[in-house]
């Protein structure tokens, strides 16, 4: 079969089984777009800004486990995609970004819409390629998919100069079935001796805790995690990225940990004697002050990326390997053991944890006459029966969603955890809805974040992705305002906006349904109405309490044991500290 470079790119996507291509055309990719025009298998989703293409593809990957694919033009098209590439990189999301480039003959001459895409993206991709020969496209595409989806996943950029996709140059096409790279061979099995050590530690632990993260979701290891956690009867905490891998409704789950984690999970970490860390990276938002992090604990760390091990926190038993395979190895070894964890020690440990739990650290003022954002998320959970895909932007609303929507399944919670990219939520919801057209998909956002990619309401109409936008509108950049309240004596420098658009009219202008909600009692009916409209995108503009804060909070530079709580344990809930 003889094909042009442009046709080869599209044919490779078909051979990889790619369903959706998120993109935006431009000069350098016109040959490619012509090849797309002549086929129907790979469906192109036209966004309104390239950043949204990357977020939508990224979220598609998070929701399905399959790599997301993006196509952008050279120059500004490519640079607009960079924020989304960095977002995917920080959260280890498999993604392929094909960027157009000026023709090879003029590379380096500051040609129109030329930018060194390989150079710009180098620090925020797993790998990138510049294709210089039409005969190399197929192999490069295969390598890109292989690298992006194996080991610790990540985004891969393929920069293709315009002349390489020339429709007049035809070359034989064959998509490689398999690819081997001498410089890349990701780890799989964990070292048996390390696993034995880990099991011995776990069986002798008196105050153990499992600290699990996004690696478990990416590694499809939820089932193994559940089995291990239940068989040991250990408490489990999860990171922002890990939510859903272990069911939040289970009694062994003690909540998220870290800066806005629960009182019980942070104290459990702080007091523990053995930590089993699985697919996590000891992020600064999780650890708090490093010098005070888990002072009594022996730490076991399972991760596919050796560079994640002992990067910030020194680990005692490192296990490099694929989380799913390592957990299976551990479960097998556990079954062979006669010894069980000490029942008495665990009972004592659980009773301490239950004490911490009993202060109910997430409780908020339920009698308020204002709409509390926490209450909105609780009702969202109720209305969607806990089974929706929730995307979020970044800020207070993100933390409220993580705290108040208990996720029981992996891949349901889609947020930018590492890079913290405002503007992620809306295009992400579109990507998720395309992947799961029958599922309820909600974007929890705020009036600041949503305006960073608001133009995608137009994309949502074009592809009829019926998503529900839950805009927790507090007329502030809530998280910025909270930090300013805590650390800058309430000097609210630039954290509010004087003019916020009429979101209801805006939604209507884009062809969607807009509903404003101003009273607490109207929240649930509005949610029910929105989710009943199965084929419409609905924008719920919910005016929430302007001064609500996210608690608990570990202020920066403090340790797990120094949380700021809404109320001191034992005092009535409506007496706010702040």
């Amino acid at each position: 079969m003889e094909l042009s470079g442009g046709q080869i790119v599209v044919q490779c996507l078909k051979d990889e089984g790619v369903e959706y291509l998120f993109g935006y055309p431009g000069g350098a990719v016109l040959h490619l777009y012509d090849a797309i025009f002549h086929q129907e298998e790979v469906k192109h989703i036209l966004v309104r800004h390239e950043q949204a293409a990357t977020h939508a593809a990224d979220a598609y990957a998070r929701a399905t486990g399959k790599p997301g694919v993006v196509l952008v033009t050279s120059g500004p098209g490519a640079t607009n995609a960079v924020t989304g590439i960095a977002t995917a990189y920080m959260d280890s999301i498999p993604m392929i970004v094909i960027s157009g480039q000026v023709p090879t003959a003029v590379i380096g001459s500051d040609a129109f819409q030329e930018v060194d895409m390989v150079g710009i993206t180098r620090p925020c991709v797993k790998h990138n390629f510049l294709v210089k020969d039409v005969n190399d496209i197929a192999e490069t595409m295969k390598k890109a998919f292989y690298v992006a989806t194996t080991g610790r996943p990540g985004p891969v950029v393929i920069d293709i100069p315009k002349d390489i996709t020339d429709p007049n140059i035809l070359v034989p096409y064959k998509y490689p079935k398999k690819i081997k790279m001498r410089s890349y061979s990701p780890a799989t099995k964990g070292h048996p001796r390390q696993i034995k050590k880990a099991i011995d530690l776990l069986l002798n632990a008196k105050r153990p805790v499992i600290y699990s993260g996004g690696g478990v979701v990416l590694g499809e290891a939820s089932e193994e995690l559940r089995e291990l956690t239940r068989s040991l009867n250990f408490p489990i905490t999860q990171t922002l990225m890990g939510l859903g891998a272990y069911p939040a409704s289970d009694k062994q789950f003690i909540g998220m940990l870290g800066m806005h984690g629960t009182y019980e999970s942070n104290l459990t970490m702080h007091e523990s004697d053995v930590i089993l860390a699985i697919g996590v990276r000891f992020d600064d938002r999780v650890t708090g002050k490093l010098a005070e992090f888990c002072p009594h604990a022996t730490i076991i760390h399972i991760d596919i990326d050796p560079a994640s091990i002992s990067k910030t926190v020194k680990v005692d038993v490192p296990i490099v390997g694929d989380v799913k395979i390592v957990l299976k190895q551990m479960l097998e070894l556990l079954k062979e053991q006669k010894k069980k964890p000490s029942k008495n020690a665990l009972e004592a440990w659980w009773s301490r944890i239950d004490q911490w739990r009993s202060i109910n650290c997430l409780e908020f003022d339920r009698d308020s006459e204002l709409i509390k954002p926490q209450a909105v998320i609780e009702q969202l959970h109720e209305v969607t029966k806990g089974d929706a895909f929730i995307t979020s932007d970044v800020g207070q609303h993100q933390m409220f969603a993580a705290q108040f929507y208990p996720f029981d399944k992996p891949r349901r919670w889609i947020n930018s955890g590492g890079l913290g990219t405002m503007g992620f939520g809306l295009p992400a919801a579109i990507g998720v809805k395309l992947a799961h057209p029958e599922a309820d998909v909600a974007c929890v956002t705020g009036e600041a974040s949503i305006q960073m990619c608001i133009q995608e309401l137009s994309t949502a109409l074009q592809y009829n992705t019926a998503i529900k936008i839950i805009n927790l509108n507090n007329r502030y950049m809530g998280m910025v305002r909270q930090w300013q309240e805590f650390s800058y004596e309430s000097r609210y420098s630039q954290s509010y906006m004087d003019t916020i658009p009429d979101f209801v009219k805006l939604a209507e202008a884009y062809g969607h349904v807009g509903i404003r909600v101003e009273k607490p009692e109207d929240v649930k009916p509005a949610l029910e109405k929105a989710f009943a409209m199965k084929d419409r995108t609905v924008f719920l503009d919910i005016l929430t309490d302007r001064t609500e804060n996210v608690y608990p909070m570990i202020e920066s530079g403090k340790g797990h044991q120094e949380m700021t709580l809404r109320v001191a344990p034992g005092t009535p809930i409506n007496r706010e500290l702040a």
Partner: protein, 163 residues
């Protein structure tokens, strides 16, 4: 502590900038870096000298290993090894000093590879501290310019860094 990291890397455009970029992005320092293709033209060998605590060096080697283009690497400081650096020094000479500079170069096993009426270019190889010692022994007012390759090295014995 000083470490010499020896790297086999795919001989591809941009591979060097991946390594250099990693060091600047993560705040590691590079004392010197030399690179050239090996007997297998598809591979380059890079020798990189850096300093850091054991924890930092561990991170450096792990982060380097993560780069897709890097095939293999070793930290030569962890094994017994030989290392050599090449230096060329251009010195001013006059009637009175020519003999003395020649003798000094001989003592350090240097070779004079260019001569004019009032200058020498001296070639010298050796461990970096030997080159330092030679430079220190010269009258600094006589040095016109120096250029050094940065150290390269191999581990001792029959084992080596290859595919």
């Amino acid at each position: 502590m000083r470490h010499i990291i020896s790297i086999l890397i795919e001989n591809e455009a941009g591979a060097l900038s991946r390594v250099a970029g990693l060091f600047s992005a993560r705040g590691y320092n590079i004392e010197s870096l030399t690179v050239a293709p090996t007997e297998d033209p598809s591979l380059s060998r890079m020798t990189l000298v850096t300093r850091g605590t054991d924890d930092i060096i561990e991170q450096i080697t792990k982060q380097l290993n993560k780069l897709i283009d890097i095939v293999k690497l070793i930290d030569l400081a962890e094994t017994t090894h030989v290392e050599r650096e090449l230096m060329l020094v251009k010195v001013k000479t006059c009637k009175e000093s020519r003999e003395e500079i020649k003798r000094l170069a001989d003592i350090f096993r240097g070779k004079i590879i260019d001569v004019t009426n009032n200058s020498y270019v001296i070639e010298m190889t050796g461990p970096s501290d030997k080159l330092d010692a030679f430079v220190a022994a010269l009258d600094e007012n006589n040095i016109i310019e120096t250029v050094r390759s940065g150290p390269t090295g191999l581990s001792r014995g029959e084992k080596g860094l290859h595919l």
